[in-house]
């Protein structure tokens, strides 16, 4: 095939997952990952990383299932292996509770997580303002550990990593044959896609080692996620808000809402606060852009996009990475056919 050169832009969970999928599955290809920010400074780092699927009305259910299942199964194997602590991947059980009984009591992902069931009346007694709940076991994937672990895996398979800000994908077309764009919010300029909007999220990390279960309000705004070194509580969903500063109002709101679900939090110490901007889009964009013709030498460069995962980046990273890998494979086969 000759040295096909692939570049992945973006060092968050989607970028590294995609880079690892490509380098491990396409042995004759050289893969370079370029990122402006690396862990612990990516959007992925502050996320609690609980695997959770949403129902996106604009994506076919089969595709959402495939993406979520692929991510869940991949991480579950890691959670049960020796690598679990280094990779920051663990099992997490808990409850999702609703003030009003939802229309869809058993969502499309209920058979993809473990042990899904409706909560019993005795279990609901702890949540007097909620009338319905689901209990299940899912995965927590902490990117502050997972990203360095993925990077190790990427390098071990021959991947190259470079810290570099990319201002224009065209700039890369001289040195690479396939460009995989995993730049999250950066795609507003890199892919000229202003439909990617920030949805601001603030979280607190609490010292509450007695908490072993996640609790999530079905409205997605209030959640408690115990992790390896602290309990992440949140949150906020402020569309179009670029503010990366921690806001006192939000801190108070989060503490109030989370303490009403778990009163012991009023006696927990705040370890840290963090703000991240979810790269929100109507649907995640996983597709090949029409092939870019490079003026000189008549070469064609394929651009594969994998961005716009909103608040489900960790939950869908591996599944969309595998999908992007499929697109890269197809385009390489297509190119072979053209020779």
């Amino acid at each position: 095939m000759g040295g096909v050169r692939v570049v992945v832009v973006g060092a968050g969970v989607v970028g590294f997952s995609t880079a690892v999928c490509i380098v491990e599955n396409l042995p004759h290809v050289s893969v370079t990952l370029l990122g402006e920010k690396f862990s612990p400074e990516t959007t992925s780092d502050g996320a609690a990383g609980i695997l959770f699927a949403h129902h996106n009305p604009d994506v076919p259910v089969e595709q959402q299932r495939r993406w979520f299942k692929s991510s869940f199964d991949h991480l579950r194997l890691i959670a049960q292996s020796e690598d679990a602590p280094e990779a920051g991947v663990m099992l997490s059980s808990g409850w999702q509770i609703f003030r009003d009984v939802p229309e869809d009591k058993t969502p499309y992902w209920s058979d993809l997580v473990l042990g899904f069931r409706i909560m019993t009346e005795r279990e609901m007694v702890r949540f007097p303002e909620h009338r319905f709940g689901q209990a299940f076991t899912t995965i927590k994937c902490e990117c502050s550990r997972y990203l360095p672990w993925l990077e190790k895996r990427f390098r071990r398979a021959g991947g190259q990593v470079e810290q570099r800000r990319v201002d224009n994908l065209q700039d890369l077309s001289g040195s690479f044959d396939v460009i995989v764009n995993c730049s999250g919010l950066g795609s507003r300029s890199l892919a000229a896609d202003v439909s990617v909007q920030p949805v601001r999220g603030q979280v607190l990390k609490m010292e509450a080692p007695w908490l072993q279960h996640f609790i999530r309000d079905g409205d997605g705004l209030t959640y408690i996620y115990p992790g390896i070194q602290g309990v992440t509580i949140g949150g906020t969903r402020q569309g179009g808000d670029w503010n990366l500063q921690v806001e006192e109002n939000d801190t108070r709101g989060i503490l109030k809402r989370c303490s009403s679900l778990e009163p012991s939090l009023t006696r927990a110490r705040i370890l840290s606060s963090w703000v991240g901007l979810r790269p929100d889009r109507r649907t995640p964009r996983v597709e090949v852009e029409r092939e870019v013709e490079v003026k000189k030498g008549g070469r064609s460069v394929t651009v594969v996009h994998n961005y716009g995962h909103g608040g489900v980046g960790v939950s869908l990273a591996w599944g969309t990475a595998m999908e992007a890998l499929g697109l890269v494979k197809k385009s390489l086969q297509g190119n072979k056919a053209k020779l």
């Binding site: 049960q80 020796e82 280094e86 991947v89 279990e123 279960h213 009163p263 012991s264």
Partner: protein
Amino acid sequence: MRVAVIGAGVIGLSAAQSIYEQFHSIVSPLSIEVYADYFTPLTTSDGAAGLWQPYLYDKGNVQETKWNKETFDYLLSCLRSPDSIQMGVFLQSGYNLCTEPAPDPSFKDIVLGFRQLTERELQMFPGYNHGWFNTSLMLEGKTYLPWLMDWLQKRGVTFYQRKIESFKELAESGADVIINCSGMRSGDLQPDPELKPGRGQIVKVEAPWLKHWIITHNLKKGVYNSPYIIPGSRLVTVGGILQFGNWSEKNNSTDHKYIWESACQLEPSLKHARIVQDWAGLRPVRSKVRLERETIQSGAAAIEVIHNYGHGGFGLTIHRGCAQEAARLFGQIVEQKGEGPKARL
């Protein structure tokens, strides 16, 4: 009335608490004294992982099941109290695994959300083909005992660090009722051939990514002789040893190796856990809990004793139910002695 409690583990301290709660406004004056040679953090209760879970099957002992349930319901109600953190009580879920299909455990309706394990869940544990998942409670002795002592101290209960050699000794010093919560060493006060040590050894490790207990059951090997992993609020307890008749409280390296290797097989991520310490303790095993009154003649005097010992590996699990029963028996003595409210009319 003077009440002397022998033993400062979870059984002794909780018995003192129940008696105080129910009688301090009825019997006046009521002085409660706790005598023990070991206090927290050196008691058997301190070493236990602290999971509320009785043996799988109660074999018809409905009395003990009732006490277990009382304890569970009591601890569940404590979750909402502002004291819950200082008490060391919190919810935890986990897996009970069997090597072959087995009937549902006696505690299935007491715990929360009890269900069978699914095929996919069982795939996570090769070698085990049946099991259950439920939510239960943790009660960490190292936190609960200091909280109990503080609770008692604030209410005037006094503590004496001393090994009691006989019931007579306490009776002669003026105790009206003796509550015998001396656990493993009850035999020193009154021979009991039914009471035997069930030696256990555990390894405490740092593995904060583990949030579920995993307890295996090998019906051939017997209870507690199969690996278990129980995360706590700070450390994870790893164990799986029960040796009848072994009085040694020293850590044994063969036992350590057995526990560690079988636990790592069950949970591969443990390989990278930092080992903090080993500990060995003696479960006060008995065919059933001895919770009853005994009036012992000593010359012309009669010594009133309430026995409350022999809780095996489920002391924390059953403590409150037993404490309340001990208080009820104490009430009988109060009536007999004419110290009760009716006597004052």
